[in-house]
Amino acid sequence: MLIKLEGGRIYDPANNIDGEAGDLYIRDNAIVAAPGENETVHRTYALAGKIVMAGAIDLHTHIGGGKVNIARTMLPEDQRDHVMAKSDLTRSGGGHAAPSTLAAGYRYAEMGYTSCFEPAVLPSNARQAHMEMADTPIIDTGGYAMLGNDDLLLQLIADGAEQQTINDYVAWTLQATQCIGIKVVNPGGINAFKFNQRALDVDDAHPHYRITPREIVAKLSRALHELAVPHPLHVHASNLGVPGNYLSTLATMEAAGGLPIHLTHIQFHSYGTEGERKFSSSAAQIAEAVNNHTNVSIDVGQIMFGQTVTVSGDTMAQHANHNHAHPRKWTCMDIECEAGCGVVPFRYRDKNFVNALQWAIGLELFLMVDDPWRVFLTTDHPNGAPFTSYPHLIRLLMDRSFRNDLLGEINPDAASASHLGSLQREYSLYEIAIMTRAAPARILGLTDRGHLAPGALADITVYHQHEDPEQMFAKPMLVFKAGDLVVEEGRISKPVKGTTQVVRPEYDPAIEKEIGRWFERYHSISLQNFGISDDEMAEGIGSRVTVHPCREGRP
């Protein structure tokens, strides 16, 4: 079937199209070139004056995995207060800070998102992350496997293993866990906490392995580069949340030695120690570093005021912060000599100095990083705020006077401690399209989406023009997923199933012997049951795999 989207204003930064009116054609699941004269168009959507973009891509959102389920379990009140009744087309569910998988899928789609990525996949339990994502309707998904706190790797590094060995281990992990990227959370720190160490800075030696976070970041970022994996090492840096941590963040950037590196939810890592309360914004220093280092990309992790839950692999940080839990309950876990997690509900208050300044810092970062291709729009859902706050965040970036009005309502000391009020910049629609579509696709190596040229997957979002960006982005007119019309006027019209995006760099299978020996001596799961096959993904997990190519021309 051939569908025509006629006359909309197209924002396709990957192809340098900035709001020009034009037509798009969809055949089956793809965007195709304009048809010949003898071809019938079966359905035309008249979109004059409407805004057309590729489907949005969220490259960092906690939508699947054991710790998200812990959050749901721990917060029955979140479910009670936000019910989602079933409809003719949709299943029931609920939740706001910790939505059920079906609620998450519907809401993302209703907001015009078509691909979302779980950043903290536990290798031993990658199945759960993928199962939850498989049960998240409509959107395509993928995950980043967590390494850098697994005892196996730390031992390899401590033993001075060759970079090639580490590369093989990383590549093997990507295949076994069906992931598209590698993430490191508080490098070495989650592991150190198991030895009762409470802090680990970038150049501190791990109590047992005597290696540093810097070395871990260096080895892993080099591995991904040499494997030609498109997505750089995705780093949740050391000392999250600690005043003064901007120095650790800068050091972490340096640790990549000029290789590509992505620093995630960097707002939580941009704190100084100035002022009476010894808590200040170092967004300027961080933004400057990002501007000056083109190998660095970031996502912000903006906080929004209100009740949410922090869900993180960083057991060290979460345990340190458990007294700030609101409500006062919390869970932590040490996991399989591989990782950990912490789930701490939290309420950000606009009248609280620290929270208000955190809000301002996130916005400062957005506005001071120059290159929209290297900064991504996230709230680290749900850690900063639920993802349903994205339209509001977009408005804050596009509408200076709205932003300044809100700045006037937060804790006044925090407002003074930030120079947000002096930042004039307003994001354009084109820049928003870069930040939420073109750039995430590029940095994940997803050449088939994030743009609207023929050959692209027909993941398309059409918005009504509205002078209030929040309203515009909150309720798209039409959302197409792989050519299916899945949302009309902000409501689900056809629940479909997405696929799981992966990369498969090559590796020497001999690494499995070494890994197998470790498993046999120390693990409680056998190597044969660790890896997930494609058949298992399709039939058991319930999501077929889409393999994306590694970069051409390996170094």
């Binding site: 721990m74 917060l75 029955p76 009140e77 409500p327 309950k329």
Partner: protein, 270 residues
Amino acid sequence: MSTLSMRLRSPLSQRIDMSPFTPRRLAGRQGSEIARIPIWLGNRQLECGELFEIDGVAGEEIIIQSESDRLDRIGAGMDGGIIRIEGDAGAYLGRGMRGGSLLLNGNAGSAAGCAMRGGLLRIEGNAGDFLGGAITGERQGMRGGTILLKGNAGDRAGDLMRRGMILIEGDCGDYCASRMIAGTLFVNGQTGSQTGYAMRRGTLITTRVPASMPASFNDNGLQHLNFLTLLGEEIQRHTNFSRIMDRARPPRRWLGDLSCDGKGEILFWD
């Protein structure tokens, strides 16, 4: 005073949610309109009038006549007026109520008065477990108002209680005042085993020695407590049982639960 009466036509197998039927929510509505309010019975919706015979005018008072123990959430969230129940109530009687009077002449099921914030809940018969308790996942239970129970309570009365007063004329089951945070719980009769388990603060007064208290409670000795006089007066406003005030002897005071840094007190006469 205008009164609306709702008489349950016949016994129910499934439970129904009575929370739409409070004086404030029904105020000004005609009987015929009330009869059309939907009620879920199992997985179907019926109209209120199919289940209840409705008479009178919605105003300050509602009378519910029922022989079923499956009417849940009667008076939930009510914030004024009077609801009288002739018969039994199901679970969550007066859940989260904020004001007004909720008067039951029969027995209540589990979690009566749970998360209550204000008003008066009075039960002539017995109550089930978790009287004045908490909603699943919430960090506090009852946080205001008064519960007066003439009969016996089940287990876990006053669980996570944060504020308010519970007066029980009869006995309590086990784990009375479990996890209590603050407030006053008075039991005229006998409390069961592990009274005060995980208590943090608050006062439990009972006229008899509890069947048992956790080993992490300490005997603080006999105490002359002036506040008991004031408390006695308060109690007498609600009920004419005041054996507590007839006792000339000082009560014995136990402090705990030290398993959780508890500064709660259990007072009784031995």
